[in-house]
Amino acid sequence: MTLLRAYLRGVREGWFILGYTLLLCLTFFIAAPFLMIVLRSVGKGWFGRLWLPPQLTLDWYRWAIEVGNIPEVMKNTLIIGAIAVAISTIIGIFAGWAFGRRHLPGKEILMAVILLPRMIPPITYALGVARIFYTADLVDTHFGVALAHVSVCAPYAILVLSATFESLDERVLEAAAVCGANTIKRFFYVVLPLIMPGILASMLFSFTSSYNEFTLTLLTYGPHTVTLPVRTYLAVGDGYWEITSAMAVIMVVPSLFILATIQRRAKPEKLIGGFKGV
């Protein structure tokens, strides 16, 4: 009997070790590329069959900042992101209110239609967007690039904010009305604080969308509106792997901040409306 129990425990521990090994493999599989980027960005004279760079240097970062013009590029990216987030959040609040709180015939079909831009590959309508922007002189302006980003950010903001408004309790609003608050006061003192987490989540996701967006930017950017993904792409084309790695490290820092916030504040399942700019 004890022998059987020991055998069973052994089997169990075997499974446990197997599972843990798998998890560690996953971690390595996901983390290894970052490790390589970081090493490459600080390594000097790293040729041939060496596991680690023989010398460390920060020269590549200096090159990235001076030659790659990273501060300027970062400024562009943030301005474009801010405009895109502002527009899509406003759209999201209005539409979310309509979807979440008002009687709307054909709600589900309308929602499916609004989410359509996330279902179709962006490159298909990016062509049309680029053509329109060329004729409307919106190419190579911050506003234009941001507007192009709105087409992918807005559906996501609408999705998140509709869910937020739907979960708003009607009775709280009624209580406020009974206490004598008018519509505007109700909105600013009752509704807004309650939906703030939803708004923040939607802003976060919209910003990540815009920050990572590559396809739409590539077709609408110009010399004055180079964003980080486009800059990295151009650097990859130039073939200087070390400088490109340094840029990639700079680029990934805000993403990691966002990741930490998401992990603490929001459930990862909620991100799965797909907010990646492929």
Partner: protein, 292 residues
């Protein structure tokens, strides 16, 4: 006027609230899409006239058959590998092993990382001078030359899996989490062993979740642009082919690019419809979750 206002007040307000969303939808998606479709029927470089030449040229070309096939191979291959990869992972992460929060975080890392950074890191790691080949050459006998991973089909599939498996994995995990443990216990009480519980109870119940997640992975992989652009080499799926049409020739082949874009959109929508029907009918064993 006032009576009209009182009669339709509620509807008007709803309309006004929806106005910005509809404006952005029509202005930034529908109209550009329409423009792409019209452009695809125009003769190259002209603003008037109608022709089917762009479609005929693309659809009769042998290279483009290969491009379409390649796009499907990459998308379906990475979706299948993602499912194979995600299910055991989700099953393990369901048990609250030590550090499970950290592993969960690792799963969603590729979602927030810009695709280009991922592609760059993957190229560095799996490339001829990366750690993978260093390991093979130094630890495994008989391997003297680097094994080619980057710029090959299986390498691309692996890159896609790295980038897009979280969609499948997170959906599978949330499906597993909402599963009632009581059902499994009932199965165990009725005499099923662990494998049978997994095979006949857990897997059928989470299949809708897995398939819904796999749709997201498929869509992302089908439309993938930045990764094959950087790491594809000679393998150009549809998205890259479209971009090549407007970036390489001077003047740009807008009409040809539009025709390919329309074909790509139709293929994706058609395949998704088939897939959803398959999921609804039998694959999911009942109500399957939507694409969200």
């Amino acid at each position: 006027m006032t009576t009209f206002w009182y009669l339709h007040k509620s509807r008007l307000i709803t309309g006004v609230l929806l106005l910005p969303a509809l404006l952005s939808f029509f202005g930034l998606f529908f109209y550009p899409m329409l423009l792409t479709v019209t452009l695809s029927f125009r003769p190259e470089g002209q603003e008037v006239g109608w022709t089917l030449q762009n479609y005929i040229q693309f659809l009769t070309d042998r290279d483009s058959h290969w491009v379409i096939l390649l796009t499907f191979i990459l998308a379906l291959g990475s979706t299948a590998v993602s499912i194979l990869f995600s299910v055991p992972l989700a099953l393990i992460l369901r048990e609250k092993v030590r550090g499970h929060r950290f592993f969960r975080l690792m799963v969603i890392v590729p979602l927030v990382i810009p695709g280009l950074v991922g592609a760059l890191g993957l190229l560095l790691f799996w490339g001829p001078r990366g750690w993978f080949n260093l390991f093979l050459m130094q630890m495994v006998p008989f391997i003297q030359r680097p094994v080619a991973v980057d710029y090959t089909i299986h390498g691309l599939i692996m890159f896609y899996v790295w980038l897009y498996f979280p969609y499948t994995c997170v959906t599978t995990m949330s499906a597993l989490e909402s599963l009632d443990r009581g059902i499994e216990e009932a199965g165990a009480v009725a005499g099923a062993n662990r494998w049978q519980v997994l095979r006949y109870i857990v897997l059928p119940l989470i299949t809708p979740g897995i398939l819904a997640g796999s749709i997201l992975t498929f869509m992302a992989a089908f439309g993938a642009f930045s990764v094959p652009l950087v790491a594809g080499g000679n393998y150009r799926p549809l998205a890259v082919e479209i971009y090549k049409q407007i970036s390489i020739p001077i003047p740009a082949h807008w009409s040809a690019a539009s025709a390919i874009a329309v074909v790509m959109g139709l293929l994706q929508v058609g395949f998704l419809t088939l897939y959803m029907r398959f999921v609804r009918r039998g694959g999911g064993g009942g109500a399957a979750g939507g694409a969200q």
